[in-house]
Assembly symmetry: C2
Homo-oligomer: 419 residues x 2
């Protein structure tokens, strides 16, 4: 089915809040086999909400509308919907009772605010039957319009658990196209180089579509196939999947939902090994990435953020002579930090980072972006000198992902370019 | 002026990449006094690009179009623009020469890819005169259309340095409305409670507009005033700014560009104090936030990520008896961690975090979301027991911001609710 996503909110059109919900919705709907015709972001202005609704309902099979369902005075969606679609706004006693029933649990909100949540356009069917959150379905001109809250985690829950299944039922009897999509994630190769490697695939077969998406500091490549039959889709997919894996080689670190940190975690688990971190210029970003993954306590021993020379000595046993002779940002200190954290924590591997993230601190010999990444293993301690472009945030991100990629490459036995 | 933002890219409509550039552009344009009529996100489909352009040019004073200007095969904007606006696509020798001139510096890209960048719609004026990046201006039906690259940092640079100044010139002689906006950032109060406090302000004066934006785990409140004269705008602003500051009280931690971590850093600098961190369940998120701020090495001594009991003993001198008797997630251990990192680093303050971020590890007495935050100062060591809702990510975010807020409140002498 062809759908359209409309996000409502002054906070979005004034640029103050990033519209993450439309992006999430588009991804989920696309994966579920729907096509997104357009995504619109509009202000909390009733006339504009109405115009957008009427424009979209004509050209799409279904609509997802997010935002403006709350209890505060700038939430105007229900009123605008009522006017635009010619439906009276009714006070829903059943909805209000459900909301009131959980009232004592909601941190002393006043009733007059909550009443607003129960004024809904005629025909609205609550998506969460207990009214635990705002969000309803309207069938208008035989097309489903889903109104969802703008709060990202509520919207995501309703979309995944209510909207997608409802659309799947709806779709039966409609055009049953089969979609197959796979995302390939690459670190260390530029978009142009990747495009060059995969170019011929797309030129040789117009049944596939390849997209290139820089997601700093990675590049993601998507392979998409939409055909009438499931068997046809699958056979085209298998044929190209294999070839893409080969063409991307060991710069491909993961696919689909995998992240660099989840992948490193998976390999550590499989090999029964543990990792510890010693960070200077990344300030905890490496350990933060590692510990975003549920279950990371199984393989992550811990880490130290040692900005100063003093802490590098005290927590990581870096010899003062190394700091004096080579400076904190050096191969020697990166190695000593990696070896130090490994020894101190008893982990199988220690990874370390020392560098100049900027904007200040650069010198002629060691400009901003100069970074050394160390890795200590039971057999050896190595390091990789890097010079990264960009601002503080970019240097920190590049350094963190590169350090995890170093661990990945080592664990998988891929040849390393070390000092 | 009233503008419209069109973002082009399959990666956006398939939800694979978050559209950060439209959000950034909307924010910058709004701050510069323009109104955003709508933001559209559309796929890399020439017909759809053309339709969106023609629709937008009719109803807006200017357009910002981002994406699809690159050298890869899925970049189709220029072709689509040429067709939609009836302008031939021309090979621009001048542009190509500038691009080629920097060729050796760009990591071995092939010429045939770069040639594509020099095929532009007739009348295109490069925004960066050295063609260091894609992006051009077309004046169509007397309206400026800015085509910008989708790469966020390039787009941001061109928008700030080329587009906004050009629009300011354009605007002279047009309707010169004056905009004043301020954002108030709150942590620890719900949206409904804040709305309740500020309700009367908006009801009493229809020249102001107040918006409420949950930006997890914070709530941001915006005050916007748009009037004909600068003096009028400023006087209305001053009158309400003062009142809002009073109504939000000490839950207001910052305004406009300030973040919790930049604010804590500013206060530490002003007071000439240093801070160190000891983290368990946040895994480095607290130190990562602190070190995102340029110059944080001035006041951040360093930190330890101690997941295991063993590391809590070894790096933070937590007494084994405390871990045995109270468990790692307890007031006692939070305090010992804070005191330990303070003593070990010699920092003025030590802040610690121990808790259960989930999804596993919860018990009946200490369910997922149970967190203790410790703070050690030269005079005392205290802790705050918390129970946070949400998933792993939410618990980690809430914990990190709460721990920084604890430091802020202590430094500012605000009364604390401790154990």
């Amino acid at each position: 089915m062809i759908g359209e996503i409309i996000a409502i909110g002054d906070e979005l059109t004034s640029g103050r809040v990033l519209n993450t919900t439309s992006c999430f919705a588009a991804g989920q709907l696309f994966t579920a086999g729907h096509e997104i015709f357009a995504m619109a972001t509009i202000p909390d202005t009733p006339a504009e909400i109405g115009a957008a609704l009427n424009r979209a309902i004509k050209r799409s099979d279904f609509l997802i509308v997010t935002g403006g369902l709350g209890a505060t005075s700038d939430d105007l969606t229900n009123e605008a919907v009522g006017n635009a679609l010619g439906r009276p706004i009714e006070f829903r006693q059943d909805v209000f009772e459900k909301i009131s029933a959980r009232l004592p649990k909601i941190d002393g909100q006043e009733t007059r605010h909550l009443e607003k949540l129960a004024w809904l356009p005629a025909g609205a069917e609550m998506l969460n039957e207990n009214a635990r959150m705002a969000g309803y379905l309207l069938i208008h001109e035989q097309k489903p319009i889903f109104f969802l809250p703008g709060v990202p985690h509520e919207m995501k829950e309703l979309l995944a658990e209510r909207v997608i299944p409802r659309l799947a039922l709806w779709k039966k009897g409609g055009d049953a196209k089969h979609v197959r999509q796979k995302v390939y994630k690459v670190f260390g190769l530029g978009e142009t180089e990747i495009n060059h490697r995969l170019d011929s695939l797309e030129n040789d077969d117009d049944r596939i579509r390849i997209g290139y998406y820089p997601v700093f500091p990675e590049v993601h490549i998507s392979l998409s196939i939409i055909e009438e039959s499931a068997a046809e889709t699958e056979s085209i997919f298998l044929q190209h999947d294999d070839e893409i894996l080969k063409l991307l080689g060991d710069s491909l670190f993961g696919t689909d939902e995998e992240t660099m940190e989840s992948l490193v975690g998976k390999i550590l688990m499989e090999q029964g090994k543990t990792l510890a971190t010693a960070e200077s210029c990344t300030g905890g970003l490496v350990s933060h990435k590692i510990t975003c993954v549920p279950g990371s306590s199984e393989y992550f021993a811990g880490g130290v953020v040692a900005y100063s020379n003093d802490l590098k000595e005290r927590f990581l046993d870096v010899a003062p002579i190394l700091l004096e002779e080579h400076g904190a940002v050096s191969s020697q200190v990166a190695r000593a930090m990696a070896a130090g954290i490994r020894a101190r924590t008893g982990a199988d591997f220690g990874v370390s980072v020392t560098g100049i993230a900027g904007p200040t601190g650069g010198t002629k010999e060691k400009p901003v972006g100069t970074v050394f990444i160390g890795l200590s293993t039971p057999d050896e301690t190595i390091d990789i000198p890097c010079r990264f472009p960009g601002d503080r945030w970019q240097v920190q991100e590049l350094t963190a992902v590169k350090s995890l990629d170093l661990v990945r490459r080592f664990l998988l036995g891929i040849k390393l370019e070390t000092t």
